[in-house]
Symmetry: C2
Subunit: 456 residues, 2 copies
Amino acid sequence: MSAVLDDLHAALGADCVRAGADIPARAHADASGVAPTRPLALVLPRDVEGVSRALAICHAHGQPIVTQGGMTGLAGGAHPYETDVALSLERLTGIEEIDVEAGTLTARAGTPLQVLQEAAEEAGFMLGIDLGARGSCTIGGNVSTNAGGNNVLRYGMTRRNVLGLEAVLADGTVVSSLNKMLKNNSGYDWTQLMIGSEGTLGVVTRVVLALQPRPEGVRTALCAVSDTRAALRLLRVLERRFAGGLLVFEGMWRDFMEAATREVGLAPPFAEPHELLILVEAATGEGEAGTARFEEVLGAVLEDGLVVDAIVAQSESDRARLWAYRESPYEYQPKLPVFVSFDVSFPRGRIGEAVADMQRAARAHWPDALSVVFGHIADSNLHLIVGGPGIDKKAVEERVYGIVASYGGAVSAEHGIGRNKRAYLALSRSEPELALMRTIKRALDPADILNRGRVL
Amino acid sequence: MSAVLDDLHAALGADCVRAGADIPARAHADASGVAPTRPLALVLPRDVEGVSRALAICHAHGQPIVTQGGMTGLAGGAHPYETDVALSLERLTGIEEIDVEAGTLTARAGTPLQVLQEAAEEAGFMLGIDLGARGSCTIGGNVSTNAGGNNVLRYGMTRRNVLGLEAVLADGTVVSSLNKMLKNNSGYDWTQLMIGSEGTLGVVTRVVLALQPRPEGVRTALCAVSDTRAALRLLRVLERRFAGGLLVFEGMWRDFMEAATREVGLAPPFAEPHELLILVEAATGEGEAGTARFEEVLGAVLEDGLVVDAIVAQSESDRARLWAYRESPYEYQPKLPVFVSFDVSFPRGRIGEAVADMQRAARAHWPDALSVVFGHIADSNLHLIVGGPGIDKKAVEERVYGIVASYGGAVSAEHGIGRNKRAYLALSRSEPELALMRTIKRALDPADILNRGRVL
């Protein structure tokens, strides 16, 4: 190990390499709940050349590296093993360019998402990527994990927002495709391999993102429907009627709403509880014409009985009140003594059965636990939280992932596999797929230094 | 060779293997203009198992294979060398499922695009992929080339429309991820590698596509602007005002409009010629409210001078009349004695300079040739046609691709590299990128049997 450290020191300078007690606590743990661990060393390059030199050295020594961004990941992808050298991109920050005519933003990978969002807005655009950790997570991490979040229905996962990348390969080679063009079929799009591979195939150092026009006249409603089938019919109607304007379609089941009122003290939105509530947002244009358009569409789905009750937000405070239900888990989840939270997806047509299965499992096996289901129905992505005293996390995981597998679902919809879900990956992927992933990994990182022990 | 043929015969049956004069002419040439060539043999598997057996045999013998779909490609990707075994997917046709709730369509790779479009419409949706060759091209070919076309501004390239794939690897391994979920971050998304790699990394056999809601109230206008800069400002305004409703934004420069009137006899749309015309379509909703919304937005850009003149289509025949300009090259291009057509992209902000450069080059070097520029401005993708007697195709290509390189553009925006643009790929890609592509190719196809001599 000291040979690696010596080489890193010599190549990067003493101020870019930390070891032992000099490694700050923020490098010891991400947000995945794994016990903090001090890595062997922390490398803090100042530029892409520094990243390149660090990787070349680790490659030569067969020294595993874990890349760290905002440390907000929930799957343990950036959480160090004690045998890892941690590579932090915290010094590779800043927006390099906003090209208004191309509609692009170019930034260094360590830049926090929110910084990019604010710069995009200042330039009269918006970013298609948004998630709860916006203040801390970095765009490099978003790209590496193909982050999802709040805007996926309209703007897609992070993948869809990326036009170009610069990345450093395992041996230190810098590959750069800082493409600003929406269409480019000139050779393999290798950037697609980096997106979502959780840092196991390369280290993303620069990102070109497509900017989006800011939607005008965003309106909000809470709709009660009888069941998931009705919710999916409603989704089809709203997608057609609002055309590209439908922005949000978030499902909250009855157990979720009960927890929101019981645990956080929110007033129930309707006089009677409903099986399923849908939080809807759509951009229908400024002014009275936009309001009329939104209300006409909602009026039609109420009239034909597809929606059994609805509240339309008349003000920003109304809107905040409706969103408070959706955000209620952020209030009570951290207070649970033990909890397991899931980020799974199902083919949309099977969501109803899958939710019923999960609710049945919770009642049968964890009758005293809090258990809530909610999520991005339009994106086929559900979240499930099971929490309470004396929960056996592993037993809960095995049961829930078993349900996921039985419906042909995905064990991770948006958070990734990291360290924590490796054992379950084979439930969502066949052996030939896993073999292909290993072939790709071996080709790009033959010494297996990049995020070793993650994903595969 | 006869050993390969014997093995193919034995494994697939005599009716699935043709040789010599039994190979029909359609397997001799794609639409790229390369002289027809009879391949060594033609294999016509009936199912994915047949594809798998054929590839395993060719892999064992080191026998190159060229995969053929609708033979509409313009880059020579499916055009056979005489040393190739051609693998046609023409028997792998048919839609296997439309899942209305998941919003997905699953089809075998040899199914023509138009069959999928019609099935999607019958189910109350639309497909996000459309291109001129829709009647002949196959969805497998669309995926392999990441086809662009008419809908990219709103629905993206083919890549964005693909949720799942089944593919056969070079050694015959079948990998299947017939994913219907919009979010799935469970391991590497290997399907991204297949999309756009032009059949060099695997043979796509099944496709799951996302279905789109049909846009309501599509309206059309032809707008005259002073230059490309004004066009890009107009694009930003329309994208914001029409939100997700802007569907078409096609640029036609003055030389293009002159050819449309001179060669095809179309009446000029405006009393005076303009530097640049933009064909605009947007979905603004059914009925009078939709009409009012469209006209209000156009009225505003006319009033502030961004658009200097405009024609709004009042009927389907008006709409057809406006589209006739955009489609005029389909009339005169086939009659040109020699022509070169380009499919290039530039960062949007540089389109104006690049077009001027190309026009200057045409006047200086091919003064007697017909030369027109048009294209998908919003997508950063331009088409250029240079045609006439005595054109030296290679000289034209070298000059135009030189201009593309000087602006950091792409030698292929949507048609791909195939055989015909291999010599120019290095103008758009750096050596480390090309090396990475070769690494990927070697890992997935070590015997280099899949579309050998294409792309790389």
